[in-house]
């Protein structure tokens, strides 16, 4: 039983590590690109990008400069 629990712990650690790595690698991804390519076929555009319009800046209420975070 303890061996199975060890395997579960290891699997969870691998999953956490993989998702952390993914977050680190894709944190600056704003072009909708996806990383997947098995084989040499040409990669089509992503499936769910609606239209080719430029992505607007994030929503902000008003145009005032953003102050430093509260401490």
């Amino acid at each position: 039983m303890s061996r199975k629990l060890t395997v579960i712990l290891l699997a969870m650690m691998i999953l956490v590590g993989a998702m952390s790595l993914k977050t680190a690698v894709t944190s600056h991804n704003d072009n909708g690109a996806v990383m997947m390519a098995n084989g040499g076929a040409p990669v089509p555009p992503p499936l769910y990008r609606n239209g080719g319009a430029p992505v607007p800046p994030p929503l902000r209420n008003g145009g005032a400069p953003v102050p430093p975070p509260l401490r």
Partner: protein, 231 residues
């Protein structure tokens, strides 16, 4: 539509994928490395199907896009199974195959559950979002698993040359994709150059595996001193 370069790379990768299976059959390595060969055969099948759909509907068509990304998700699952079969081979002397299988199934289910948790709020095209998310998450899981496997190879002083070659080429393959993707995010202006690289990487893995099956005999051993040792 892809240009001449794209077609040449695609044809070369198809030939190499077929070459892996042929080399494995010739060298009687089909059964010991069944999942690796299944992955290569599935890649070849997917490439031929993609070619048919691409020529019928075009690169930007929904048909090609859906088929490409759904088949890519399936291929990533095949690649994951191939990787877990390498784990089984490395841990075979410890008689831990059952534990490896249990861990592989658990990790696959956990990754699927995590992927579903990420996308379940998408009311529209939930399945497409899920397939996309699962494929990418499995990809990163495979990347981490390959490094874990390499650490196990060093720790257990594995000396089977063919197995080491297969694992190392898988590690290089995953790392090339991750590095290329990270560079694409850091330098979006270089996207036009970087988009040519993934199909080239697709040629690397079958070439390395075909070499391993063709040139390295099953009983070849590396001297343990040639591997770095973790103490």
């Amino acid at each position: 539509m892809p240009g001449l370069f794209g077609y040449i790379v695609w044809i070369v990768s198809c030939l190499l994928e077929a070459g892996v299976v042929v080399c494995a059959v010739k060298k009687k390595a089909l059964r010991p490395y069944l999942f690796l060969n299944l992955y290569m055969a599935a890649e070849l099948f997917a490439s031929v199907s993609r070619y048919n759909i691409l020529h019928q509907y075009g690169l930007s068509s929904l048909q090609y896009r859906y088929f490409y990304y759904y088949s890519d998700a399936l291929l990533t699952i095949f690649l994951y199974l191939a990787l877990t079969s390498l784990f089984s081979s490395v841990f075979s002397e410890m008689h831990a195959e059952k534990l490896v299988k249990f861990g592989a199934v658990f990790l696959l289910c956990a990754t699927a559950a995590f992927s579903y948790a990420v996308v379940y709020q998408s009311q529209a095209r939930l399945l497409t979002h899920f397939v996309n998310e699962l494929s990418q998450n499995l990809y990163f899981v495979g990347l981490v698993l390959t490094y874990v496997l390499w650490a196990a190879v060093l720790k257990l002083r594995e000396t089977r040359t063919r197995l080491i070659q297969l694992i190392l080429s898988l590690g290089v393959y995953f790392s090339l994709f991750a590095a290329s993707y990270a560079l694409g995010n850091l330098y979006p202006s270089a996207d036009s150059v970087l988009q040519f690289l993934p199909p080239l990487y697709g040629c690397f893995l079958p070439a390395a595996w075909a070499y391993a099956f063709w040139r390295i005999p099953e009983d070849a051993r590396l001297a343990p001193s040639r591997l770095a040792v973790i103490r």
